[in-house]
């Protein structure tokens, strides 16, 4: 059974049709790429999946349950973690605290437990700390744990965003242009990290501008253009698809 299934998604903003009958499925354990020229609707689709927008029509099914009409935090709790195109960390909190917030949905201490500092609250807090440090170690920025998030280098901020998302223990990790602004070395390291995350059992949805990265990394790729899906297949076939070449280069290759 598919992990995530989009059925004929339409999304209109006033008179603009940002998405037109987009259907796609992501299987468990897969790295799924989504590419398209600027303004093709990639981020809109991403926001529909993560509950920021609700689709004008169509269905989103994740892990067997419908996500339509769910709020972003409910989508997050159901198992889709995301990062943002323009990094959105909690800037004035430490790196460790950022990851600790990622555990929010999987922990339960309430105000009463916090005020009375109950035994379960203390042990949960300890567990959150240990787990969060482990996630920082996983993405390789444990040494920065006590720095403020905003003082990290760009590449490390991206890593922190991924660590924070992983702390939610998602089934699907949705990355919105994670390689944007990275240099070649950082992109290579990111590629390794994404492969490692997949091998640890998390499926990945990857939106990218960097076509080379997508072709290298993904098991399957979908191409969006003007809000429509024009191709979906393994990278090698998508690369040769005339529609895709048309969309990217404006004409047939000679």
């Amino acid at each position: 059974m598919a992990l995530l299934e989009l059925q004929k998604i339409n999304k209109n903003f006033g008179g603009v049709q940002a998405l037109h009958n987009v259907s796609l499925t992501i299987e468990g354990g897969e790295i799924y790429g989504l590419i398209g020229p600027n303004g093709a609707g990639k981020t809109t689709l991403f926001n529909v999946i993560t509950g920021v927008y609700s689709p004008s029509s169509g269905g989103v099914e994740f892990n067997g349950e419908s996500l339509v009409g769910r709020k972003p935090h409910q989508v997050a709790i159901s198992g889709i973690a995301r990062t943002f195109q323009n990094i959105r960390l909690f800037q004035k909190m430490t790196v460790l605290e950022n990851v600790m917030i990622g555990t929010h949905a999987n922990t339960s201490t309430g105000p009463i437990g916090a005020i009375f500092n109950t035994k379960s609250a203390r042990s949960e807090e300890k567990l959150i700390r240990v787990q969060s440090r482990a996630w920082l170690d996983y993405v390789g920025i444990l040494s920065q744990a006590d720095n403020l998030a905003k003082n990290l280098s760009y590449g490390d901020q991206r890593r922190l965003e991924i660590a924070r998302a992983l702390a939610m223990k998602p089934k699907l990790l949705a990355l919105d242009e994670p390689a944007a602004g990275m240099n070649a070395t950082e992109t290579d390291e990111l590629k390794l990290l994404i492969r490692r995350i997949r091998s640890d059992g998390v499926s990945i949805l990857l939106i990218e501008h960097d076509v080379k990265l997508i072709m290298n990394l993904c098991d399957r790729v979908a191409v969006l253009d003007y809000g429509q899906k024009i191709a979906e297949d393994v990278p090698n076939l998508v690369r040769r698809d005339p529609n895709v070449i048309q969309a990217y280069l404006g004409g047939e290759l000679p």
Binding site: H73, I77, F90, T94, E97, H104, P111, A114
Partner: protein, 366 residues
Amino acid sequence: MREFMQSFLQKVTSNRRVLLLGYVLLFVALAVLPFLLSNTVGRTWVRILDFALIYAMLALGLNIVVGFAGLLDLGYIAFYAVGAYTWALLASPQFDLHLPFWAILPIGAGMAALFGVLLGAPTLRLRGDYLAIVTLGFGEIIRIFLNNLDRPINVTNGPIGINKIDPISIGGADLTRTHEWLGISFSGVHIYYYLLLALLILTIVMCVRLENSRIGRAWLAIREDELAAQAMGINTRNIKLLAFALGASFGGIAGGLFASLQGFVSPESFGLLESIMVLCMVVLGGMGHVYGVLLGALLLTVLPEILRSTASPVQRALFGDVYVDPEALRMLLFGLALILVMLVRPSGLWPAPKRRVALDQDSSRD
């Protein structure tokens, strides 16, 4: 110099024995303070101290909403009013109800929390300036209600206010009267001082624990980036309402204590200026930092009183007459102090350590 101070403080606070000694000294100092004051500058100053403690509690409550969750609330005094009037109505000749304090305080806190949710629910989508305007309106609505609720059925006595409010009494002993204990005579303001101090310490402990908990982190996350907080699975609606309710309940308790200490409440104690004053305590002290807010509250209640009592005599001694009304001088100096702090220490007198590190790095980068 600052580095030296930091390393010194670190050394002192890392040594458990020294830390313990510090706490003991602080405790003793706080315990003898009211006697010191009443024997040197007079009992009025103990009363002023009592009010400082009440305001500190109020400021800590507002700090949850403004400092932690980042929701700018300009009508916070309304919850103080709700707490005060709850006490006034349940323990005064107004309806001839005389409930004991242990029953009224939780009711007052609960009523304030309810009003907090009533304010919070419709304003969940608002942030910043827009939220400030709505909360400002809410604060005024409560005050105007209290002012006009003497018709058609007299509930609040309108602008006249409610008089002869019961003080806190334990086992029939009225705590606003003088009691003798172990050969030392404690007057009402002294007893209230200890009571308020104990409650304030309790409030501080609660605030610090909340801040360092899962809930506190969720508040900070909402303050920093609401969309990212939602993406982390934080139910921002509930967490914001919780901040409103908890903050308001602290205000409600402070209000009840105020009513019982004062023995009288009227709507004019709960005007917009009071809301602004409490907000200033939070901002001036260090938004989001429990001890900073505490410092702000103490400074802003005690300093104006010192000014009030010295402004006239000093002017008379220097110029032979009083030229500037102490009240006018108070607002003048207050405004000046506010501008100075915002220019020199934009994050408050004693900001949260982490935040200060960030701001220092910001300024060194320029």
